[in-house]
């Protein structure tokens, strides 16, 4: 008796369904430059195969391609991969990461609102791509930790050198991880949560 077109929508597989008792969900955003392993990290800890949601954003285009000086609107589609972890029968954690174009994330209405915090995933071979995202998180007041994804051919740097290079305050944790590994990725999330806990116990501007 259902509409034909709605029948074509495939919902979650039975093993991907949340229990009826699921009462609240929280989110953490995984940010970082292109190709740094955000989706890899999401995939390695998620209980579901990562899903993709796409938002279309419009913004007034800058004057560069605008010879007549007429303000035009450009539409950009931003894709976000996300995964899920059931923390208990009632509490669910969602992890959002995206394959690239991080400058658009901050236009995504509500992505960071209400987020517990963020993980900035960095590749030491391309530290410079992390500057912009760290600056934006600081501006937005989103608490974050920095996780160094240890690529096999990347040089390992002392934490304090990275801290100086990224111009990070002393209180922001820097951890190493292998985003391909479930436990290692999980530990990054735990580092973020412990950082949030220490802040909740001894509030000061993050």
């Amino acid at each position: 008796m259902d509409c034909k077109s709605s029948e074509t929508v495939v919902g979650p597989r039975s093993e991907d369904r949340l229990p009826a008792s699921a009462a609240a969900a929280v989110k953490i955003v995984i940010v970082g430059g292109f190709g740094v392993g955000k989706t890899t990290l999401v995939r390695s800890v998620s209980e579901i195969r990562p899903l993709t949601t796409e938002e279309t954003m419009t913004q007034a285009s800058a004057g560069v391609d605008d010879t007549a000086g007429v303000e035009r609107k450009t539409a950009t589609t931003v894709a976000m991969d996300f995964g899920r972890i059931s923390l208990s029968d009632e509490l669910v954690l969602y992890l959002f990461g995206t394959p690239g174009q991080q400058r658009f994330w901050f236009l995504w209405n509500g992505l960071f609102d209400g987020a517990l915090g963020a993980v900035v995933l960095v590749d030491t071979r391309r530290l410079e791509v992390s500057f912009d995202v760290i600056g934006r998180l600081e501006e937005a007041g989103v608490p974050f930790v920095v996780a160094v994804n240890t690529f096999p051919d990347a040089t390992s740097y002392p934490t304090e050198e990275l801290r100086a290079a990224l111009d990070l305050p002393e209180k922001v944790p820097i951890v190493e991880c292998d985003a391909r590994l479930r436990e290692s990725s999980r530990d990054v999330l735990i580092s973020l949560m412990r950082y949030l806990r220490s802040h909740a116990l001894a509030p000061e501007p993050m």
Partner: protein, 117 residues
Amino acid sequence: MNDSDEEWDEGTPERLYVITGGRVDSSDRAGLDLVTLIVARQDPQVGMQPELASILRVCRSPLSVAEISAYLVLPPSLISVLLTDLLADGRVEARTPDPSLPDIALIEAVIHGLQKL
């Protein structure tokens, strides 16, 4: 994006406009977040708008706005508009995250859950 249908691309503004009847994102009003959990309170009805029927079908068990968006292949902003209607009619229930800042109990619960992984 979607390479299946050039004529009627999933993401074209025209299609999205038709689905929402031209309304814009009202998620702020409804207090809907990407991770608000939605649960259907009734089965799809005959003659219901297909997208609404699909939401009721996939939400037989709790599902986040982000997941609904992924399964229906529609932007979260549009899903929020549709959910606002369903919420107003009492056809779905929304389980919203606590709007207050993360308190220590919630943080502890998340740490505890992660440690069990």
